[in-house]
C-alpha cells in the first residue's frame, strides 16, 4: 500500500500550481480493466428498516406491528423478494433492480453505535469511528485518501464530491472535496469569480480551494437538461429534489473524467408520528428515494455496470409502533446496495427474530450484522481498498469486523 498521506488543498496549490493535478483513480481496480464508481447516500433521521423490507416470513411479524405490518396480501401488498422478505410497495424500481441481480439488502444491520441520539448516531455513521467522539473527517474521504493513486493525471477523477450547500461529514477530510447544489440564482461572471479567486489565493487558501472546485463543476452541471424546480417540502417537491440531486450525482460520476466517488444526504426519515408505511409520509419518502435510484441508473448510462450505490442510515426505529402511529429511535435497520457491479438479488441477514426476548433491550430489532463489514466489503472488492488500511484508518479499530465477501460480481 502506498502512502496514506493525501495532499491538502494548500499543498496542492503550492506544489503544482493547479488544484486538479492529483488523481486518486483507484489504480488496482483500473489495472483489472475496471473503472468503478461508488456513491454513498446517507439517509438522515433513522430509516425504519422493518417498514422498508418486511420479514413477512417471520411468524411474529403481524403480531408485532399489527395494522402497520404490510404482508403479501391486503390493500397495499408488499413486493415479494424471497420466501422470507418483501419490499415496501413504494419501491418498484428497487424491486426491479433486485430482480435483475443489481440490488442487495442487508437486514438487521447497524453501526457500532448503541445509544439513540440522531446526532451522535449520524456522526458515527459518517465518521466511521467506533465511538461517538468528534471527528473532522469521514470514512469515505479517508478511504479515498488511502487508495493507490493512478498513474495518469486527471482533472477531477481523484476527488470525492458532495451534494448540497452543507458538506456531509462522511466526505470531509484530507482528500479534496468538490461540492455541488441545485443552482437557483443567476451566477456571477467568470471574470468576477476569477478576481475573487486571485484574492483568495493570496489571502485565504481554504476559500480558494472551494471556489476553484466549484468553477470546474459548473461545466458538467450545464451539460444537459436539468429540472430547476426544487426546494419546498411537499411530496412532489421532495420527489423532484431527490431525483435532481441523485441524478446529478450520477451525471458527475458517469463522466469519463469526472469524479469516481461521491456522497449525498437525503433527510426526513424521522417518523415519530403517523409514519404512513403503506400510504402517507414514509411511503412518499420511499417512493421519492425509489425514483432517485431510477434516476441514478438512467443518468449513469453504461458505467452503471461499474457502479455501487450504498444507502445507509444512523440507526433503525423501535420494532413496535409507538403510541402515535409512528416509531421512536431504535437500533438495527436495513442497508441497501444497488448498482450493476453487484452480485445482487439477495437479502443478507442473520435474522435475530421478533419475539420480545429476541429484541435488543426488548424494544428494537437486534443488530446481527455490522454495517462496517458491509462497507468494508464494498470498498475492498469494488475500489480495491487495502484491508489493513480499512481496519486502521477508514474504520479505526475494526480489525475484528471482517469485510463481507462476495458483494461485488
Amino acid at each position: 500500500m502506498t502512502s496514506l498521506h493525501a495532499p491538502s488543498r494548500r499543498e496542492l496549490l503550492l506544489a503544482s500550481g493547479t488544484l486538479f493535478a492529483w488523481a486518486y483513480m483507484p489504480r488496482l481496480a483500473r489495472a483489472e480493466g475496471r473503472d468503478p464508481r461508488f456513491l454513498t447516500i446517507v439517509l438522515r433521521g433513522a430509516l425504519d428498516g422493518l417498514a422498508t423490507v418486511m420479514p413477512v416470513g417471520d411468524p411474529d411479524w403481524v403480531s408485532l406491528r399489527g395494522d402497520n405490518a404490510l404482508t403479501l396480501e391486503g390493500k397495499t401488498p408488499a413486493l415479494k423478494l424471497n420466501d422470507y422478505f418483501a419490499l415496501n410497495p413504494a419501491m418498484p424500481n428497487l424491486a426491479r433492480m433486485y430482480g435483475a441481480n443489481e440490488a442487495i439488502i442487508v437486514h438487521a444491520c447497524a453501526t457500532p453505535y448503541r445509544e439513540r441520539s440522531h446526532f451522535d448516531g449520524q456522526d458515527l455513521l459518517e465518521s466511521g469511528l467506533a465511538k461517538p467522539t468528534p471527528s473532522e473527517s469521514g470514512w469515505l474521504n479517508r478511504a479515498l485518501a488511502g487508495l493507490a493513486p493512478a498513474g495518469r493525471v486527471d482533472p477531477k477523477g481523484g476527488k470525492v464530491f458532495a451534494v448540497g450547500p452543507v458538506t456531509p461529514l462522511v466526505v470531509r477530510g484530507p482528500a479534496p472535496v468538490l461540492s455541488w447544489s441545485p443552482q437557483r440564482v443567476q451566477p456571477a461572471s467568470a471574470d468576477t469569480a476569477q478576481r475573487l479567486l486571485d484574492l483568495y489565493k493570496h489571502a485565504d487558501l481554504k476559500l480558494a480551494g472551494v471556489l476553484e472546485d466549484s468553477a470546474k463543476l459548473t461545466a458538467i452541471e450545464h451539460s444537459g437538461e436539468m429540472d430547476p424546480k426544487a426546494g419546498g417540502s411537499n411530496p412532489a417537491q421532495v420527489k423532484a429534489y431527490f431525483a435532481e440531486v441523485a441524478g446529478t450525482a450520477a451525471k458527475f460520476l458517469a463522466q469519463p473524467d469526472g469524479p469516481r466517488v461521491g456522497a449525498l444526504a437525503l433527510d426526513g426519515w424521522d417518523t415519530h408520528v403517523n409514519e404512513g408505511i403503506g400510504k402517507g409520509r414514509l411511503s412518499d419518502l420511499l417512493g421519492s428515494l425509489d425514483v432517485a435510484l431510477a434516476a441514478i441508473q438512467t443518468n449513469m448510462g453504461p458505467p452503471w455496470h461499474d457502479t455501487v450505490v450504498a444507502l445507509v442510515t444512523e440507526f433503525g426505529r423501535t420494532a413496535r409502533i409507538n403510541g402515535t402511529d409512528g416509531t421512536d429511535h431504535g437500533t438495527a435497520t436495513v442497508a441497501l446496495l444497488v448498482g450493476g457491479a453487484l452480485k445482487g438479488g439477495r437479502v443478507i441477514a442473520d435474522w435475530p427474530g421478533l419475539k420480545e426476548a429476541d429484541l435488543y433491550e426488548k424494544r428494537d430489532l437486534k443488530p446481527t450484522t455490522d454495517l462496517r463489514a458491509v462497507l468494508k466489503g464494498v470498498l475492498k472488492d469494488h475500489l480495491r481498498a487495502d484491508e489493513r488500511v480499512l481496519a486502521q484508518n477508514v474504520f479505526p479499530g475494526s480489525d475484528a469486523v471482517k469485510p463481507t465477501a462476495g458483494l461485488v460480481a
Partner: protein, 480 residues
C-alpha cells in the same frame, strides 16, 4: 494578544454583531468593549415592535384560511358537475363569503401571496429589519443563537414560527436560562414540532380510552439538545420517564375560535403517578411536575457546560479556548443561569478579543452584514422575498432547519457553500451598486481589517457592482 482601537471596533462589530453599518467603527473606537457591554443593558435591544399577531392568533388565522380554501375547492368541483344535485346547493352568497375569507389581509388591487405566506414574510421582515437596524447587534445575535438552539421548523408550524421566536426567545435572552427553557418547552410551536401534542400516558384516561401512548421525541431532545447535552449522563429510562412527566403538555387545537392555538395542560392525557428522573423522585403535581424537572435540568452542571461550550463556539471560534468556556460555565453556575451575566462574561473575557478571525459567518449572518453595509435605505421594501430566497439557496432557510439540533455552526459545514454566496452577492450588488461608493464602504465595513490585497482587488474592479461583490466576498468580510 488582544485587538485595540479601530481594529478592535471593527472586530467587535463583526464578531459580536452583524457587521458595521455607516460610521459605526469610528463611533465605538474609543471603547469597543464598553460599547458591546452597553448593548446588553440597552432596554429595548432584542425587542420587535409593531403589530404582529400572537402565535395563537396566527394559528387560528391560518387554520381558517386553509378551511376556506378547502371549501372553495369543493364548490369548484360541484360546479364542474352540472348534473349533480350539488349544483343546486352552490349559492352566490356562499361563493362571496368564501372569497372574502380567502382575501383576508389582501389590499385591493395588489397581488399579494396568500395569507400563510404573507404572515410568514411579515415575521421574516420584522426579524431582518431588527437585525439590519440594530445598534451593535449583540443582543440580536443572542436572539438568533437561542432561536437556533431551541429551534422549531416552519415546515411543521408555519403559522407559529415567527411568533414563537418573539414569545419564547426574545423576552428571555437577558433573563435566567430556566425562564427561557420553561417558555420554550411549553410553547405550542415546540409541543407541535416535537410531537408532544400527540403523546399521552398509557395509563392516562385518554391513553386507556384511545389505546394510545407515549411519544418520547420532545423529552429526548429537551435533554440531549436543549439542556444536559448528549453526554449529560441520562439514560433511556430517564428519557421515557421524563416523557411521561410531560404528557398532557399540549395545545388547544386552532379550530377552537377563542383560545385555539394556546398552551393547555390536559390532565386527561397526563400519565398519573410519581416519576423518577435522574435518580430523583417527583410527586405527581400535574403541570408542576414537569416544571420541577425542567428547573433541575436548568440547574444541572452538564447544562452549564453544554451552554457555555456552544456560546463560546458560536461567537469566538469553532474550537474555543477552554479557559473561555470555563469562565462562561462559572458565571452560569454562580448566577443561577443569568444569561445577561453570561453575555457580559463573554464580552469581558480577553479570549473573546483575539485578532485571529477564524469563524466563517453562517449564511444569514453574512446576508445581514451585506444589507447593513449597503445601508438599509438601499433595500427595497419588497426585498424580503429575495432575502428569504437567498437564505434558502445557501442552505439556511429561515426557521426551517432539517433537524431539531438546528443549523450547524462550524466552518466545515458552511465553507463548501461559499461559491453560492458569490452568486447571491452578485445579484445583491447588481441591485444596489448604483447608489454606493465601494471604497467608502470598504472603510465603513472593514476599516483596518481590510488587507492590502483586498483593498487592491476592490479598487481595481471594473464596475461598482463588481467591486461591491468582491468586498462582501472578501475573506475579512466572510469571517468573524
Amino acid at each position: 494578544m488582544v485587538a485595540r482601537g479601530k481594529e478592535a471596533a471593527a472586530l467587535a462589530l463583526h464578531r459580536f454583531g452583524f457587521g458595521p453599518s455607516g460610521g459605526e467603527i469610528a463611533a465605538i473606537a474609543d471603547d469597543p468593549r464598553g460599547a458591546v457591554l452597553a448593548d446588553i443593558d440597552r432596554p429595548l435591544a432584542g425587542n420587535i415592535d409593531g403589530p404582529l399577531p400572537t402565535s395563537s392568533e396566527s394559528a387560528r388565522a391560518v387554520f381558517d384560511f386553509q378551511a376556506a380554501q378547502q371549501a372553495k375547492q369543493k364548490l369548484t368541483q360541484r360546479m364542474q358537475k352540472p348534473d349533480s344535485v350539488g349544483m343546486m346547493q352552490v349559492s352566490s352568497e356562499a361563493i362571496a363569503a368564501i372569497t372574502a375569507d380567502l382575501a383576508v389581509g389582501q389590499k385591493p388591487g395588489e397581488n399579494q401571496p396568500p395569507l400563510p405566506q404573507q404572515l410568514f414574510l411579515n415575521e421574516a421582515k420584522a426579524r431582518i429589519d431588527a437585525a439590519t437596524s440594530s445598534n451593535i447587534g449583540f443582543v440580536e445575535r443572542l436572539v438568533w443563537f437561542w432561536s437556533n438552539h431551541f429551534c422549531i421548523s416552519a415546515d411543521k408550524v408555519v403559522a407559529m414560527s415567527g411568533p414563537y421566536e418573539r414569545e419564547a426567545i426574545r423576552p428571555f435572552v437577558r433573563r435566567r436560562f430556566f425562564d427561557m427553557l420553561q417558555a420554550v418547552e411549553s410553547h405550542p410551536a415546540m409541543l407541535v414540532y416535537l410531537d408532544n401534542v400527540e403523546s399521552m400516558g398509557a395509563n392516562s384516561v385518554a391513553g386507556i380510552n384511545r389505546d394510545k401512548g407515549l411519544n418520547e421525541n420532545l423529552a429526548r431532545e429537551t435533554m440531549e439538545l436543549h439542556t444536559l447535552g448528549v453526554h449529560g449522563g441520562y439514560t433511556q429510562q430517564d428519557v421515557t420517564s421524563y416523557a411521561n412527566v410531560i404528557t398532557g403538555w399540549t395545545w388547544i387545537p386552532p379550530v377552537e375560535p377563542n383560545h385555539g392555538g394556546e398552551f393547555a395542560f390536559a390532565k386527561r392525557l397526563h400519565e398519573p403517578g410519581v416519576k423518577i428522573v435522574l435518580g430523583k423522585f417527583y410527586a405527581d403535581t400535574g403541570l408542576q411536575q414537569g416544571r420541577e424537572v425542567l428547573a433541575d435540568f436548568a440547574k444541572h452542571p452538564a447544562t452549564a457546560h453544554h451552554i457555555a461550550q456552544k456560546l463560546a463556539a458560536h461567537f469566538v471560534a469553532d474550537e474555543p479556548p477552554p479557559s473561555l468556556v470555563a469562565k462562561l460555565e462559572q458565571t452560569f453556575k454562580d448566577t443561577g443561569g443569568d444569561l445577561k451575566e453570561v453575555g457580559k462574561t463573554l464580552v469581558s473575557a480577553d479570549e473573546s478579543w483575539t485578532p485571529q478571525r477564524t469563524k466563517l459567518k453562517a449564511p444569514s449572518t453574512w446576508i445581514v452584514a451585506m444589507l447593513r453595509l449597503a445601508s438599509p435605505a438601499a433595500i427595497a421594501p419588497n426585498a424580503i422575498g429575495r432575502i428569504v430566497g437567498a437564505q434558502a439557496t445557501l442552505g439556511e432557510s429561515l426557521w426551517r432547519p432539517l433537524a431539531p439540533n438546528g443549523y450547524p455552526d462550524t466552518e466545515a459545514a458552511w465553507i463548501d457553500g461559499v461559491p453560492h454566496r458569490l452568486n447571491i452577492a452578485n445579484e445583491f450588488a447588481a441591485r444596489v451598486a448604483a447608489t454606493v461608493d465601494p471604497m467608502a464602504l470598504l472603510d465603513e465595513g472593514l476599516g483596518p481589517l481590510a488587507s492590502s490585497d483586498t483593498r487592491q482587488t476592490v479598487a481595481r474592479a471594473e464596475t461598482r457592482a463588481q467591486a461591491l461583490t468582491l468586498l462582501v466576498m472578501a475573506p475579512e468580510f466572510l469571517r468573524s
